[in-house]
Amino acid sequence: MIKVRELEKWFGKLHVLKGIDLDVNPSEVVVIIGASGSGKSTLLRCINFLEKFKKGTVEIDGKVIDKNNEKMKNEMRTHVGMVFQHFNLFPHMTVLQNVIEGPTQVKKISKAKAVEIGKYYLEKVGLSDKEAAYPSMLSGGQKQRVAIARALGMEPSVMLFDEPTSALDPELVGEVLSVMKDLAGEGMTMVVVTHEMGFAREVADRVIYMDDGLIVEEGTPEEIFNNPKVERTQEFLSQIL
């Protein structure tokens, strides 16, 4: 589903990704953990080309994406959903308008059909009663659930989550994680960058530990959390668990 090969990225002189290889299989939930600055968010943003990178390739659904081909990138993004740390809802649109914006404007499906899809996904994230509300009227947890519905509205084949609960008050983290858990249960392919180790342990099929622009260790949650082989992974986990 996703194949990343020898990905390297610089921010000016800073070498943030130093050669990443990553495979994500259909219906797999991959959770990426690591300290701030390890490059995990950057990696995620490179997958859908929100971030430009210098070297390497990203293949999605069997197609190697040409980074200079805008049309190809736009087409790819219609089936790669993304959820951001800071929600990035469109503040001038209602909740429902946020969700149908992509389907109507990008996929060009009819308003009526889009509304149907929009309502379906809003119900899924438990926000049917908020469809006429503006984002400013919602709590952080509700905003993030709308953002998930917005990404799902495009009916993507894979979802990327970039620290989806890091900007939330602690009591609101649960509602977002529970929506994500349901999604994983339904077989959605997911790549999740997070600091929620409970979620990683419970939901992930595979956990990847990144440090200093490299994948240091990967394995099942049991392998990573119970028997980390690499010393750096052990140190990181001992600091946070």
Binding site: N74, F84, F90, E101, S136, M154
Partner: protein, 219 residues
């Protein structure tokens, strides 16, 4: 000093054509300024030097010189080449002048929209252009309203400089009448009342627009 209140009422009607002239120059100047401003803002934001260099140069030259100079330049300076009518010169000068400021207002408003908005739009598969039109510009316009209102009021008052190139707007009218009836204070008072009336309307109008936009979704 004598101040004759009855003169105010007596001469008030004489100002009405001049009041229209002021509105004409201001309105057309603002209209031209808005068009130039929007085009320049986009050129300025473009990564292509073919667009952004001329935009920078335009803003640099116009913001760096007085409007009065620009008016004289266009009307008297270029008379041998362009031979524009006074009113045309006034509208063009006011338009070009305001265009530079309005461009910076729009540019600032567009750049003030969080990067995440563009990223979210692009992550849905939108093109840059579509994301601009659907997501960024509606928010940017809203943010541009207060400084635009400010700029329109400045343009209105700046239209008085057109008196220097023989446009019979409010200020020139006041001076001309005063030079024959010697009621300088009274004539200037009448002109001032008109300006205050106009600026009140602008202020009220922009307040209404802001109120309306605030209702349909806040930040």
């Amino acid at each position: 000093m004598d101040y004759n209140v009855s003169v105010l009422i007596e001469y008030f009607p004489y100002f009405i054509p001049a009041a229209w002239k002021t509105i004409e120059v201001t309105a057309l100047g603002i209209l031209l300024g808005m068009v130039l401003g929007l085009l320049t803002a986009f050129s300025r934001l473009s990564k292509n030097p073919l667009f952004n260099v001329p935009a920078r140069l335009y803003i640099f030259m116009i913001r760096g010189t007085p409007l009065l100079l620009q008016l004289l330049f266009l009307y008297f300076g270029l008379r041998s080449i362009l031979n524009l009518e006074a009113i045309t010169s006034a509208v063009i000068a006011l338009g070009i002048h305001n265009g530079a400021y309005i461009a910076e207002i729009f540019r600032g408003a567009i750049q003030s929209i969080a990067v995440g908005q563009m990223e979210a739009a692009r992550s849905l598969g939108m093109t840059y252009r579509k994301a601009m039109i659907r997501i960024i510009l509606p928010q940017a316009f809203k943010r541009a309203i207060p400084p635009l209102g400010n700029q329109f009021i400045i343009a209105l008052k700046d239209s008085s400089l057109a008196s220097a190139i023989t446009i019979k707007e409010l200020l020139l009218k006041a001076q001309q009448l005063a030079s024959s009836n010697y009621y300088m204070m009274e004539m200037l008072t009448i002109a001032a009342i008109f300006y205050l009336f106009y600026t009140s309307i602008f202020t009220w109008l922009f307040h209404k627009i802001e109120e309306k936009l605030a209702v349909s979704g806040s930040r």
